[in-house]
């Protein structure tokens, strides 16, 4: 009688002649494998020592070693925005109010929810409004998604203002941070524009009339709008002025919807991202967070001598 095929192969591989029974040999092999597996699994008890972990994080995060704490920041693409160490008083909530960071976090939230919303939205006069209804009533968690996008946008306007207010109160715009303050002002305007361009997209009465009112002001731009000072003298009409350029037409219609969509989803976020990169970069280059700094005294202020 022939042996089963696989057993024959095993024999050939191990080169042994079968002394113990088939079952006995299998048990032996399994026992050895089990011991080895237990031995190896012991090493996985510390995940930080695994090849996988080390390949991702590059450094060990041994808490007691100050060098590792620094490396945790320096060797991480997201965290290297931070310095390794900061002013011990700057981590107090009441100094910064955390508003700049929260604003950035809201931008991330808005990007995330915005991308998801884009899956369900067509920037076309025919279906835009229906898409919103679909989103609110049929898409799983669609209503939550839209609500979150809207409220995060409003919250971002508020946190931007409060961030600016804090920077003024702490005098953080002063030397050498003057330019970064200007970048911040641009970001404030971009935040408002982002929010405003999003207002039209549901294509409902609220957005339509808000944008109508808003863009009507562009009509009156001096030298660029047909109703503004010197507009008529420069040959501007409703069909070639700045408002026409913004709306892609003389009324808020299909082209305006498409333009608002593209500005909202691509144009302004792109520009804002660039300004944000500069804003964050400059915080570091200008010496990190401004304080809480030791107070200066009036008596120590130098006054230029009168010539």
């Amino acid at each position: 009688m022939d042996e089963p095929k696989d057993q024959k192969e095993t024999k050939q591989l191990t080169g042994e002649k079968s002394d113990a029974g088939l079952v006995g040999r299998a048990k032996e092999t399994a026992g050895a494998l089990k011991d080895r597996a237990f031995e190896e699994a012991k090493e996985y008890k510390d995940p930080q020592q695994t090849q996988l972990w080390k390949s991702i994080f590059r450094v060990s995060h041994e808490r007691s070693d100050p060098r590792n704490r620094s490396l945790a920041i320096l060797s991480n693409v997201f965290l290297h925005l931070h310095p390794a160490k900061i002013n011990r008083d700057a981590v107090r909530y009441q100094y910064t109010w955390g508003m700049g960071g929260i604003t950035f976090y809201l931008f991330v939230v808005l990007t995330f929810t915005g991308v998801l919303l884009m899956f369900y939205y067509h920037p076309s006069k025919i279906v835009a409004f229906r898409d919103i209804l679909y989103l609110e009533h049929d898409v799983p968690f669609g209503k939550l998604l839209r609500n979150m996008h809207r409220w995060a946008a409003h919250l971002m306007v508020i946190t931007t203002w409060l961030h600016m207010f804090r920077v003024v109160l702490t005098g953080s715009y002063k030397k050498p941070r003057e330019f970064n303050w200007c970048v911040g002002v641009v970001l404030l305007v971009l935040t408002l524009l982002l929010s405003f361009t999003g207002y039209l997209l549901p294509d409902d009465q609220l957005g339509f009339w808000a944008v109508t009112v808003g863009t009507n002001m562009a009509r009156a731009t001096p030298m660029l709008g047909n109703e503004g000072p010197f507009g008529a003298q420069l040959g501007l009409t409703p069909y070639n002025d700045v408002r026409f350029g913004l709306l892609g037409g003389s009324i808020v219609d299909a082209n305006a919807l498409l333009r608002a969509y593209i500005w909202h989803c691509i144009g302004i976020p792109l520009v804002a991202s660039i300004f944000m990169a500069v804003h964050f970069w400059r915080i570091r280059k200008d010496g990190g967070i401004s304080g809480p700094a030791p107070v200066m005294l009036e008596s120590e202020m130098k006054v230029p001598k009168k010539k």
């Binding site: 704490r69 945790a72 931070h82 160490k85 900061i86 002013n87 909530y93 100094y95 109010w97 955390g98 960071g101 929260i102 809201l106 939230v109 409004f129 939550l144 609500n147 409220w151 409003h154 919250l155 306007v157 508020i158 207010f165 003024v168 109160l169 005098g171 953080s172 715009y173 002063k174 030397k175 303050w181 200007c182 207002y199 549901p202 294509d203 409902d204 009465q205 609220l206 009339w209 808000a210 009112v213 808003g214 009507n216 002001m217 562009a218 009156a220 001096p222 709008g225 503004g228 000072p229 010197f230 009324i251 809480p292 030791p294 107070v295 200066m296 009036e298 202020m301 006054v303 230029p304």
Partner: protein, 370 residues
């Protein structure tokens, strides 16, 4: 903390009484609670309602820290010996303490916590309140009132006081550029990186005034302007049939009624020259006002009941403020004056002229009106 002194307790009591009386008057004056609730609870108005609480809170938070720093500055100012050895912060510090902390984990964990809290707040907000969605857009059916989003209602409210090219284009541009030049015209080296009012009275007051005005305009635009952009006090019903008999006149029309000055309204050249003089005069007087204001020392409310002290405050320049002024270059000074008079003063003055004297334009020309 020290026990509150009797005087400060008395002040607190007076403050409380004032607040209660004002609230009582407001409640008494509300005729239409439903209307008020409709405006307050409109989901899109939630942010500005929240702002009404957030602004005072963060102002208080800032001022409290400024007061603590100012006390320390006062102490060190009067004790040069202490100033040399003191670590110069109100935050506790002992020799041997490291001046810096590791960002990992001491900052990163706070950021993580903040992100979690914001996310939770957003979830709760989004579950409880729905984003508004009106009927499909319809160019043939005008919304009344048709309002911009809340953060632009300040601009929309400005349309009442200025022509669209000023309110919608020039003013926003000036505000933006004015904000950008702010660090460059502030020649004060003190107060860099810590809360203080004592050392930066004027700068903080100017920004605070602008910010407050912005919030107030938004407040008016949100809560007070009803159908037809008519002024309805909070608690008044927004009646779509309300008719307002405004008799808005231009300044030259009023002046021309004075015997002997009738020629001012006679032709467009006279009107234009008259308006130019008025606006020019406004800039001169406004600049003089700011020049006076920037030299003032600390103002105390007790001056209001003591004319002698008030007079002294108004006439004697503060030494420190004079020092700051001498550090300011002419370009910085002129730039500041331009933005201050054009926005910080022109806006409230025009608002006042419109509401109290029903004056429409002060400068009328064939090309533009101001």
């Amino acid at each position: 903390m020290d026990n509150p002194k009797p005087k400060s307790r008395r002040n607190k009591l007076i403050g409380l009484i004032v607040v209660v009386v004002l609230l009582g008057l407001f409640v008494y004056s509300v005729a239409d609670w439903h209307q008020l609730w409709k405006i307050l609870s409109a989901p899109d108005n939630v942010p500005i309602v929240a702002m009404l609480f957030l602004m005072p809170f963060f102002t208080w938070l800032g001022i409290r820290q400024a007061a603590a720093n100012d006390r320390l500055i006062g102490e060190l100012e009067s004790d040069p010996k202490l100033a040399k050895t003191h670590h110069r912060k109100v935050e506790p510090w002992r020799p041997g303490w490291a001046k810096e902390l590791h960002v990992w984990p001491y900052l990163v964990r706070i950021e993580f916590l903040a992100a979690v809290i914001v996310t939770v707040v957003l979830y709760i907000w989004s579950i409880t309140l729905n984003a508004p969605l009106e009927e499909p857009s319809n160019p043939n059916l005008t919304m009344n009132p048709s309002k911009a989003p809340w953060y632009f209602l300040g601009l929309q409210e400005m349309l009442v006081y200025f022509d669209p090219w000023i309110a919608g284009v020039v003013m926003p541009s000036i505000i933006m550029i004015g904000l950008m030049v702010f660090p460059y015209v502030d020649s004060n080296p003190l107060g860099n990186g810590y809360y203080t009012i004592r050392q930066r009275r004027f700068a903080v007051a100017m920004f605070g005034w602008g910010f407050l005005m912005w919030i107030l305009l938004i407040f008016i635009g949100t809560f007070i302007r009803g159908p037809g952009w008519i002024w309805f006090w909070p608690g008044q019903t927004w009646d779509h049939n309300t008719v307002v008999f405004d008799r808005n006149r231009d300044l030259h029309e009023i002046v021309a009624t004075i015997p002997g000055l009738g020629f001012i309204g006679s032709n467009w050249v006279a009107k234009m020259i008259f308006g130019a003089i008025v606006v020019g005069g406004f800039y001169v007087i406004g600049a003089l006002f700011f020049h006076w204001l920037m030299k003032r020392g600390q103002f105390r409310f007790s001056y209001l009941v003591s004319p002698k002290k008030l007079r002294q405050w108004a006439t004697v320049s503060d030494e420190f403020e004079l020092k700051l002024l001498s550090k300011t270059s002419i370009l910085q000074y002129m730039t500041f004056q331009f933005f201050a008079v054009s926005v910080l003063l022109a806006m409230p003055v025009k608002l006042f002229l419109r509401h109290v004297f029903t004056i429409k334009y002060v400068w009328v020309t064939p090309w533009f009106n101001i």
